[in-house]
Amino acid sequence: MKMSVDRDITLKMARAAQLRIEPEEVDAMTESINELLSICSLVGELDCTDTPDFVWRMRKLPSRREDEPGEWADRERFKSEAPTIEGDFFRVPRISSEG
């Protein structure tokens, strides 16, 4: 089934993805999304009852990692280069978006 979006939904999607769209770009973005939704709606055309979901067939049983601890040699260097590092912590501005 083909679906489509309007300006409001486009803005909502952008917000959900933590992106800002300028007011003058919203219409173009909405059109883009609708073009894609139109092209991709073909996936609904095929009758797939009883078809299992895609999953890669593997040639051998998937491996699992041994439960043995390891240290990251470059940890301190990485931390020191992080944009928001403060001492040992990463610092973020206030989490609450109100007031």
């Binding site: 990692r65 601890p69 040992d88 973020v92």
Partner: protein, 486 residues
Amino acid sequence: MKRPIVIGLEVHLQLNTKTKLFCSCSTDYIGKPANSNVCPICLAVPGSLPLLNDKAVELGSRMGLGLNCTIQNYSNFHRKNYFYADLPKAYQITQYELPVAVGGYIDIETGGKTKRVRVHHLHLEEDAGKLVHPTTDGRLTGASYSLVDYDRGGVPLSEIVSEPDMSAPAEAKEYVIRLRQIARYLDVSDGEMESGSLRVDANISLSNPDGSLGTRVEIKNMNSLKALERALEYEISRQNKVLDAGGKIVMETRLWDDAEGVTRSMRSKETASDYRYYPEMDLAPVVITDEEITRYKREMPELPCEKRARFAEEFGLTGEEIEILTEQKELAQYYEKVVAAGAPPKRAANWIRMEVLRVLNALGKNISGFTVSAETLAALVAKVDRKELSSTVAKDILDLLLRESVTLEDAIARCGAGGCALTGDALNDTILKIMESQPDVVEAIRSGQDKKNAKTKFLQGLVMKETRGQADPKEVAASLEELLKK
């Protein structure tokens, strides 16, 4: 109006693995500086890929078996997408449609009856990091900034979702107690609510008069069993009030405020309505072979219900005795060792219930802090059983064994109908104590003013009184003389 209560619980257990769910960082983060146990994978550095921990699969399966679930040969992971500071990838890798274990139950005792609470499923997921807020109460509200520590991020969790089969806060509490006990018995998790290795979220609704289910409210932030019970009781009361007044219950998440004793609606931002779940394709599916399941079953430690049944059958103990002895696995194991060392089961059970637990409660310790070995206790209990010792004397002997490191034989030798002898250094300590309490008398004796020994005898009398006749008078006299000379 009393409406039927419907409660379901989601319990998160931190699994006892050495490393995180998807990387080799250690899970031992308590007391370490922030961001010590991190690596490219759990920090979501570009190009990194998750690597599933074998032990986590084993422990999750083991817990599933302990909950009478069916372990799935095939399960997979999904991504739960949302942005938050404690989530580096901006998605949590969890199991959504195909979990590791499905369809189990826990039997709880409620009102003298057994009730079966069904477990819908158990799934694996990774924990989030920790946020530190520089406010006076440590809470998010009012914090002008926050600090993020990813040490806990990626630690393996198993989430156990029950069916909404519980109908009272007491049942919910009992369910958590049983679940925790199973987790501890199976060495799957420490199950500590205080340190966060066991977390409970509750879903509660009140049914409508026609029997249909009411609107569900989720309750979070209950950090103890007591809080769980109080929060549910409060919520039942709150919902009844709203409905009595003709209002509607809003489907929402509410946080328990332990200080105020109320639940509060959470800010909507934090309850993202759309997590955009979809399959995690950086991981191959989880395949648990029948051979592995057989091995997990074979290697399972004994379950609480199995131990309880065995105690009843092998040792002929009452229900109450069994409950107390098996509440903690370590205590039950201690008891078993005592019996194995030759103590009669019933009497041993009594001793542990009455004497050992008394001591432990007074000391605020658990059985691992109990210094008397199972073999020693067994010998003592056996002697009582054979009437070689009275139980009164035996209790004194036990106290002595706990105070001093002496052998059982020595302890028995020192203790008679009047109590246990005080001797050696312990006696000297008592003598010194008396001497310190009578400085003038000691001074007088030391300066040679005790020609008739009256003062010395006075001190001796005080010592004998203090030791309640448990010291040998000759030893007291000799030791006092020695100490007065110094």
